[in-house]
């Protein structure tokens, strides 16, 4: 538990410099095998550890909640002075001049960043096999022939192996999916609860920063530090909501039906352990959430990535074109991965004149309608519960060979909540070997307090 560790560090029972040194060494070692880091910022970490130690000696840390806790950060979250690539060749030498608000907030509490974690390029993937040109695919910590899930794969892998928390990010399921595959807790807050300032955009109306940790309590400890309004992000908010307990859980039929048989069985076993009333609830529109999500996400992504065209970012020497267009095309062709190109092309298509009505606007309308439908379910239920992934982690080769339709369809357990901006958490159903599964709990928007209460209880019962 982080709380206890923080106390031990504060009381100098554990030496912060030694702890950080140990984690750096471990990080280097596991990275050789599992590729879960893009950058291990050892010099920075040592310098910070020294600073924190001095503060401890001076007695300036009494009220700080993360004193000396080593952290890993997904590589699309900016860290001042530490290379931040979003997993893309086009940003492969980018050193940001400022940190994300979430990073600033944990550092203020005494956290120490030791590494930046692997990810699908710009977050474009569910298995972390869609890495950028020149980047390595991270591997599952429980079976290195299998994927660790994406797009925050490196964060989940690192959390599992190093037993330290991570700041991850989800657009369509990028926290839940790898948490489920690796066996860690992954909390995706309501859209807007954590400032996106300093998060390299994938799809601005969907992106959410959230923590990964080894326990529900730890994940909420980090969440409580990073949450809340930030003047640098107009979409951020401190809004909180509460509703009465109904002691009743809903299984979303359309998502649950898509799960593998063994996944379903394990999940139902767990649900029985919890012992709450549950009911299967059908929301027919849920089936269209995947299409709606990918259209909105790709439309936004195709605009967000337009800045990487070889002027301020991604510039290369010896590339020439007879006009700007040709130059931009050459730069982008060479520096973006296949999935990124696919999403840019599709995203540009769905918002183009003549197709916008059929795709982009329809997708927005579905999102709006789905939010209303789901809102109705919460009148009678506290939460949706379901497996965080419909499958167990596949082999790396299998994932690479999946067609995009099939790969996208496997997001059915995470996309609806991400599309609607609902807070959700994936709690590991403790299993041996690679067959890890997350028990996912989804609450209504801004009901993180309720989500916390439920998941603390469920985690205990799942032990």
């Amino acid at each position: 538990m982080l709380k206890e560790l923080v106390e031990k560090i504060k009381s100098e029972e554990i030496d912060v410099e030694e702890l950080v040194e140990k984690k750096i060494e471990e990080a280097k070692k596991i990275n050789e095998e599992l590729n879960c880091f893009i950058t291990i910022c050892e010099d920075y970490a040592r310098k910070r550890a020294k600073e924190v130690k001095q503060k401890i000696k001076k007695g300036e840390v009494a009220n700080l909640k993360l004193v000396g806790i080593p952290f890993t950060i997904k590589d699309n979250i900016l860290t001042k002075g530490i290379r931040t690539t979003a997993g893309s060749k086009i940003l492969s030498n980018y050193i940001p001049p400022f940190s994300a608000t979430a990073v600033e907030r944990i550092e203020k509490e005494g956290a120490i960043i030791i590494a930046k974690t692997s990810m699908d390029e710009f977050g474009f993937g569910s298995f972390n096999v869609d890495v950028g040109v020149g980047f390595k695919i991270p591997k599952n910590p429980n079976d290195s022939t299998r994927v660790c899930g994406g797009s925050s794969g490196g964060s989940a892998c690192a959390t599992k192996k190093l037993e330290i928390p991570s700041l991850a990010e989800s657009t369509g399921g990028s926290i839940s999916a790898p948490s489920s595959f690796c066996g860690v807790v992954g909390l995706t807050p309501s859209y807007g609860k954590v400032s996106r300032f300093g998060l390299i955009d994938y799809a601005s109306s969907l992106d959410k920063i959230g923590p990964m940790a080894l326990s529900v309590e730890d994940s909420f400890l980090v969440y409580d530090i990073i949450k809340g309004f930030d003047e640098n992000d107009e979409t951020s908010t401190s809004e909180e909501r509460s509703s009465e307990f109904k002691k009743k859980l809903a299984i979303p039929k359309e998502a649950f039906d898509s799960c593998e048989k063994e996944v379903k069985e394990k999940f139902i076993d767990s649900l029985k352990k919890i012992g709450w009333d549950y009911e299967e609830v059908s929301i027919p529109l849920l089936k269209f959430s995947i299409q709606s999500y990918y259209i909105i996400a790709m439309a936004e992504a195709s605009t967000n990535l337009a800045r990487y065209k070889g002027i301020a970012f991604g510039a290369q020497e010896n590339v020439e074109g007879k006009n700007f267009r040709e130059y931009f095309t050459k730069i982008r062709s060479a520096s973006l991965g296949f999935e990124a190109k696919r999403r840019i092309l599709l995203g540009s298509f769905v918002r183009s004149v003549g197709y916008k009505g059929q795709y982009y606007y329809k997708a927005l309308a579905i999102r709006k309608k789905l939010i209303e439908e789901i809102e109705k379910v919460f009148k009678n239920f506290d939460a949706f519960v379901l497996p965080a992934m419909p499958v167990f982690p596949p082999k790396i080769e299998e994932a690479i060979n999946l067609s995009p339709e099939k790969a996208y369809a496997l997001d059915i357990c995470t996309i609806p909540w991400n599309l609607c901006g609902l807070p959700h958490i994936s709690i590991p159903i403790k299993e041996k070997g690679y067959k890890q599964l997350g028990f996912e709990v989804v609450c209504n928007r801004f009901e993180e307090e309720k989500l916390k209460k439920l998941s603390v209880e469920f985690e205990n019962k799942l032990k």
């Binding site: 107009e234 439309a299 337009a306 700007f324 267009r325 916008k356």
Partner: protein, 451 residues
């Protein structure tokens, strides 16, 4: 000939900081340079100014403010998209009235929207033809785009529209008056119901007139050859318009809702905008007319030309209000225009009052020129005048006035014995000598001179 012109005019809003970040105009930061991970923050002051413009243009103002992303690949957009308003502009369906050739004209304003300025591309002063410079200091400046229906009928009318718009927006202090923030317009032109040609990015009113003149001539010439102008986008280089993009090459901007900015309720911002807005030109002119009992038409000019404050200050020192008002709108204004100055950039109102109090109107009209041009106080001018008079002999003065053809004619008349001519010459001598000599002295001199 049936000419239809529609204008999209970009006005820079007079805010201290940019539209989506807190850096001052002319500065840059990660936000206006489109660094990865930055998010826009809406400058509420810019929104208030846009609401005021919408009100001035008699528009329906929206209840919520929403932005869109306009995407195109060009080096002037650091983010690769521009945050603008497409689906729901902040205001629409208004009109603007102005005078053209002594007639009142009313042009429909179809929409008013807020957007960020792109960076400025600089082609000059670089070593190789292969490179350009990008000046990001303009990137992110707050712009208000004012779009008219294609109701303007000639380049001259378009120019007058721009000048009148400039005058009114300047009066209300809702436009940036720095030189580099001049109005930039895109003009749509068609003749004889032909295809619409768009001319992009024309700075100021004079250039606009020139560009439109050229384009109409070009289209007429094509018509005279039995050809038709194609639908396309053209540029203007100061002399001619030239093809930028053909219709089939037109960019699809792929607008989407701006996801980084949630819809903003305009209720409170509207209240604030109306509360702090200046009184209308009409109201202010009426107030001045009533207070000082001066002509309403003159009062309107005083207000429109932003001379009201100046007038009221001067009126504290000189109570010939009617004389003062006319002097300001005719002579003083002429001097300002001539020396390209604003009222607050030259002599204090008090000085004009002193001038009118202590000299004849005829002299005042002369002296004001130098006072405005050289920023000289009345006292300084007086001293100089005394100095000059001391130095001049009566012969020198006479030579001076001989330069005037009328005087030469009068001397001929005098030689023939025309006594009226003598009065005229004496008048001129008095004026020229700043009344240093008496009438008798001059008469005596003339008798000698004309012998």
């Amino acid at each position: 000939m049936n000419v239809k012109i529609g204008l999209e005019t970009h006005v820079t809003l007079p805010t201290k900081t940019k539209l989506f970040c807190s850096c001052k105009k002319g500065e840059v930061c990660p936000i206006c340079m489109g660094f990865p991970g930055v998010k826009p923050r809406v400058n509420r002051k810019a929104v208030i100014l846009a609401i005021q413009i919408a009100k001035i243009l008699n528009c329906e103002i929206a209840n919520t403010l929403v932005f869109d992303r306009k995407s195109y690949f060009y080096p002037d957009l650091p983010k690769g998209f521009q945050i603008t308003q497409y689906h729901e502009p902040i205001a629409k369906n208004g009109f603007f009235e102005f005078n053209f050739k002594g007639e009142k004209r009313k042009v429909t304003i179809t929409r008013v929207n807020i957007e960020e300025d792109p960076a400025k591309i600089i082609h000059e002063n670089i070593a190789t033809e292969k490179s350009i410079l990008i000046d990001f200091s303009r990137s992110g400046n707050p712009l208000c785009e004012i779009v008219t229906a294609p109701e303007l009928k000639s380049p001259q009318e378009a120019k007058e529209y721009i000048l009148a718009l400039q005058e009114v927006l300047d009066y209300y202090e809702v436009m940036d008056t720095h030189e580099d923030a001049a109005f930039r317009s895109d003009a749509n032109v068609s003749i004889e119901n032909g295809e619409r040609v768009e001319i992009k990015n024309i700075t100021g009113a004079e250039e606009l007139e020139k560009a439109l003149d050229y384009e109409i001539k070009r289209q007429s010439f094509l018509l005279s050859l039995g050809k038709k102008a194609e639908r396309e986008t053209r540029g203007f280089d100061g002399k001619v318009t030239f093809t930028l993009r053909k219709k089939e090459e037109e960019e699809d901007y792929g607008y989407i809702q701006e996801p980084d900015i949630l819809p903003i309720s305009l209720e409170e911002l509207k209240e604030e905008a109306f509360r702090i807005m200046k009184r209308s030109i009409e109201e202010e002119a009426e107030r001045i007319t009533k207070t000082y009992r001066i002509n309403l038409q003159i009062a309107k000019i005083i207000v429109r030309k932003k001379l009201a404050e100046y007038f009221e200050e001067a009126a504290k020192y000189f109570n010939g209000y009617s004389i003062l008002s006319k002097f300001l709108v005719v002579d003083f204004l002429k001097c300002l225009n001539y020396s390209k100055k604003k009222a607050n950039e030259t002599i204090k109102p008090e000085e004009v009052a002193k001038l009118l109090k202590n000299t004849s109107i005829r002299e005042a009209k002369e002296l004001i020129k130098e006072m405005v041009k050289e920023n000289k106080t009345f006292e300084e001018i007086e001293n100089e005048r005394k100095q000059k008079i001391k130095q001049k002999t009566i012969e020198e003065v006479f030579e001076e006035i001989l330069k005037n053809e009328k005087v030469k004619e009068a001397i001929k008349q005098l030689r023939r014995g025309n006594k009226k001519a003598e009065n005229f010459i004496i008048g001129e001598m008095l004026k020229q000598s700043y009344y240093k000599f008496t009438v008798n002295q001059i008469r005596k001199f003339l008798v000698e001179e004309i012998k």
